[in-house]
Symmetry: C2
Subunit: 143 residues, 2 copies
DNA sequence: CTACTGGGTTTGAATATCAAACTCAGAGCG
DNA sequence: CGCTCTGAGTTTGATATTCAAACCCAGTAG
């Protein structure tokens, strides 16, 4: 009989519990680009407003985003990423980079980041210990 | 009136069109860990079987995965990542790394990769031009 | 007075998800 | 032979989610 308890415990799955949703990721993208207002996030992501509400509430509950009411009547709030939220930048960067490399966009890469070295950021994942770019053959899985 | 045409064209969104789904990402994880069989992927990810079928078909259609029938009767197939599929490794790696750093797991990090330098892979995103680790302050957005 | 803005909530129909049961064609066992 | 198991799905039917569009409320601009 099937055991059904062999689902893999995994940091990837745990991360997806937090940001494993299109509108969540796109909302974080907008926040990283400096948009703090609900309407701006809604229209730039295309997310339905009610869905966006639940996603932002969940991001707040997860500590990635703060909601600050900057006005009482009528209630107006703005959203900002916490440090924890900003720590997702490598995730968004690799997502963007993969799309840039492999998926054709009508107008080329959007929302480009320029690094302080003067060049457009071309992110590369390296091994922190030796500085080399790991590839499929230089990695061994240890499960 | 709202324009509604100001949804941001974006490589992140395009990437999410391809892999913006929990079961899709977890299936790719299993394929990277060497599981080729439908049942193995289903039980290690916990994905419902019908959903997994549609996800694998879509991955195949997107060119990330090949399905090879290794037996006719009864039909038995195995799945493998293409080079394009393997090119998602930085994405999965940053997802895993973020979970490792920020989300508590009951048994610590799973499915660890060991780099050929001998150390457990601790991935870092650097600027390909100058080799420095970019942070929030060294980046300028160019939208 | 009217229109608009901002940050939502409500509504109701369309879709997607899910667990569990089922299918089909063999293989292994006794 | 009869029985069960495996593998790769498909089917079923109940539940949950998504979505677009309309609505709400309090204030501001004209």
């Amino acid at each position: 009989m099937a055991r059904e308890k062999d689902v893999r415990e995994c940091s990837i799955a745990r991360t997806l519990d937090v940001i494993g949703d299109r509108w969540t990721v796109l909302a974080i993208r907008e926040l990283m680009l400096g948009n703090r207002r609900f309407d701006a996030i809604a229209s730039r992501t295309g997310a339905p407003r009610d869905i966006l509400t639940t996603r932002l509430r969940k991001l707040e509950a997860s500590g990635l985003v703060t909601r600050e009411q900057y006005q009482e009547r009528p209630p107006r709030s703005e959203y900002q990423l916490t440090d924890l939220g900003w720590s997702l930048q490598p995730v968004l960067t690799t997502l963007r980079d993969w799309g840039d490399r492999h998926l054709a966009g009508p107008d080329g890469p959007p929302a480009v980041f320029v690094h302080s070295c003067g060049e457009v950021l071309e992110p590369t994942l390296v091994c922190a210990h030796c500085g080399e770019v790991p590839d499929r053959n230089s990695l061994t899985q240890r499960v």
